[in-house]
């Protein structure tokens, strides 16, 4: 019952946030030069069709006109658009007006989700041991190495790293790993690594600091007094307690990584949602852009919800609200 109430509350919050994002986006695009429905863009995209089948062209144009209700006052347009979006009726895109947005995004979404989650998983798997070792061997050369590497990972944005990877694997070690496209598992390696580097840095540094702090706690002394063996002490008491703090950085890191996919997919020419977003924005394909933001935003907020649930499960003192 408690969880039902909690989930309901959070769901309402997510819907309100997404509705606000859509409204803000729509209004801004409405006032942008060219308006929300950029008719010149649409007309040029439909030029071949107009030449081929004027009747179908006319029909499609009318369809767009009525869908976005361009004759209606702005607030009615926004409400109508909200309604369409929340009933998952995304309509057609303007770059490919004959194709529905859903059909264009169907293949793109899993790629981006895979890249984002994959890199978060990789960063946790690599970052936690790095942080633990650095914390246990504090002020040794291992610690300095880990800390310095983490700083590099944190400071250098994924797109710079991606370009460097392209240099290394496209020029120096050709044919070791593919640097463009998507299809085989090997294609995922470099994008995931580019995205993970920053997260590894954050996770490792956070884990290090958190574990050092935890190992100073009284309950660690209690566990020692119980005669718990060293590694059991470190893992069951030290790392276990540090993880509860670490989980709180995963949410923001995921959001950060989603932005990273937009950049990295551009550099590695991966047909994911990030690539779709940038193409949509640069081509004033606003229905497509808003839909992509809606989906990515929803994914981020749902992930944060899951992170909060995991947090409360890992730390019994935390009260969900």
């Amino acid at each position: 019952m408690f969880y039902v109430k909690f989930l309901a509350k959070r769901f309402v919050a997510i819907v309100i946030t997404l509705a606000a994002v859509i409204a803000i986006s729509y209004i801004m695009m409405y006032y942008s030069p060219g308006g929300f429905m950029n008719t010149t863009q649409l007309a040029s995209a439909l030029a071949p069709l107009a030449a081929q089948d004027p009747a179908a062209y006319q029909k499609l144009m009318e369809q767009f006109q009525s869908r976005y209700g361009l004759n209606l006052p702005l607030w009615r347009q926004v409400l109508q658009y909200e309604w369409h979006t929340f009933t998952f009726n995304f309509g057609n895109s303007m770059q490919n007006p004959t194709l529905s947005i859903v059909s264009q995004l169907k293949g793109a979404l899993p790629i981006s989700v895979f890249l984002a989650f994959g890199s978060v998983v990789v960063s946790v798997v690599i970052g936690i041991p790095m942080g633990v070792i650095a914390a246990l061997k504090r002020n040794s050369w291992v610690d300095y190495l880990v800390t310095t590497l983490s700083m590099f990972g944190q400071a250098i944005p994924s797109f710079v790293l991606a370009v460097i990877f392209v240099l290394i694997f496209g020029v120096v070690w050709q044919n070791v790993l593919p640097v463009t496209g998507w299809g085989t598992p090997a294609d995922a390696v470099l994008p995931v690594l580019s995205l993970a580097a920053g997260n590894i840095g954050v996770v490792a540094r956070y884990m290090r600091g958190s574990l050092i702090e935890t190992m100073r706690q009284d309950f660690i002394r209690t566990a020692k007094a119980k005669g718990v063996k060293y590694w059991a002490l470190v893992i069951r008491h030290g790392v276990r307690n540090s993880l509860t703090a670490l989980i709180t950085v995963i949410g923001p890191q995921f959001a950060f990584t989603v932005v990273g996919t937009v950049w990295v997919e551009n550099i590695f020419a991966i047909p994911g949602l990030g690539k779709v977003i940038s193409t949509a924005f640069t081509n004033f394909d606003f229905p497509m852009a808003i839909t992509a933001v809606f989906i990515l935003g929803g994914t981020i907020m749902l992930t944060n919800l899951v992170v909060d649930l995991i947090y409360s499960w890992m730390d019994p003192r935390v009260k969900l609200q």
Binding site: S32, V258, N266
Partner: protein
């Protein structure tokens, strides 16, 4: 060197007072952090180049040397030329100028909005506080880069639009910080204790509030600038940044990525300068955080 003299004359009362000031102690801690000092040096150089870059650039960023297109580094073109014949060295100098303009401008915009809303929320309290904090939650729910993209659509391309597009969505963190500082000041225990000891208002403000507030703000600004630098380049990566031939790190990186097979030098220098710059800013920010708040945080 001056510092060394100060240490050898501890009895001088003026020096003594300065030595005990929180700012001075923060600087002492900062100085010990080798990374932070190295970062600061590069950041200073970066700023200087940003100011004088256009004057020392050997070529204008619009000058294309058609006789030496995509040539490697040479005496004529230190960092080589790109596919159109633009001089990469000059492009970098101009990029630094625009990157700094945009990042500093955006950080100022974020900070200004954040200070105004944070002060308002903290001082007014009540319903205004609730509304501002809801708005902060809203801004944190989604990456501000998405808001920047949407704003770019409204504002069109250019330096000033980029400043606004990156700056406006970045206010939430500053607002939350300022609000918490206001609240901490209004019922801060340290201030309470100082007052109980009979310290004057001015003394309290100078000695306890000011260093604390300045420290927190400087640290958050130091983290904000590299973020805005990244966002600025990131907008170019997705094609929403400055239009060529306006040079920017994002454009150069995107171009280098596309043309890397034949012309790797297009990458070395822009990527190197950009990476070192961001790293330096992070070292500085980290050093400042440790200097102002030695016990706190990770």
């Amino acid at each position: 060197m001056i510092v060394a003299i100060a240490v050898t004359q501890p009895q001088a009362p003026a020096r003594q007072a300065r030595r005990n000031s929180p700012m001075y102690r923060a600087w002492q801690r900062y100085r010990k952090n080798w990374f932070a000092v190295a970062g600061l040096i590069w950041v200073v150089i970066f700023f200087i180049i940003g100011i004088i870059g256009p004057w020392i650039a050997p070529y204008s960023y619009t000058y294309a040397d058609f006789l030496h297109m995509h040539s490697g580094p040479s005496w004529q073109h230190w960092f080589g030329t790109d596919t159109v014949g633009y001089d990469v060295f000059s492009q970098i100098l101009y990029s630094i100028r625009y990157a700094l303009e945009i990042a500093l401008g955006a950080t100022c915009v974020s900070f200004l909005i954040g200070v105004i809303l944070g002060l308002w929320a903290g001082l007014a309290g009540g319903i205004i506080d609730v509304i501002v904090m809801r708005a902060v939650d809203f801004m944190f729910a989604l990456p501000s880069f998405f808001f920047a993209l949407i704003l770019m659509v409204l504002l069109g391309k250019g330096i000033f639009p980029m400043i606004l597009a990156i700056g406006v969505p970045g206010w939430a963190g500053y607002a939350r910080l300022i609000r918490s500082l206001v609240l901490a000041m209004r019922n801060g225990e340290m201030v309470e204790a100082a007052r109980a000891l009979g310290a004057s208002q001015w003394h309290i403000a100078r000695r306890y509030m000011f260093p604390n507030v300045v420290g927190s703000m400087v640290v958050s600004l130091a983290f904000g600038i590299p973020y805005d630098l990244t966002a600025q380049a990131g907008l170019s990566i997705v094609g929403m940044g400055l239009n060529p031939p306006m040079p920017s790190f994002g454009n150069m990186l995107a171009q280098a990525g596309a043309n890397i097979l034949g012309f790797p030098w297009l990458l070395y220098f822009p990527a190197g300068v950009f990476a070192i710059t961001l790293l330096s800013f992070l070292f500085v920010a980290d050093g400042l955080q440790e200097a102002f708040n030695p016990k706190g945080g990770v």
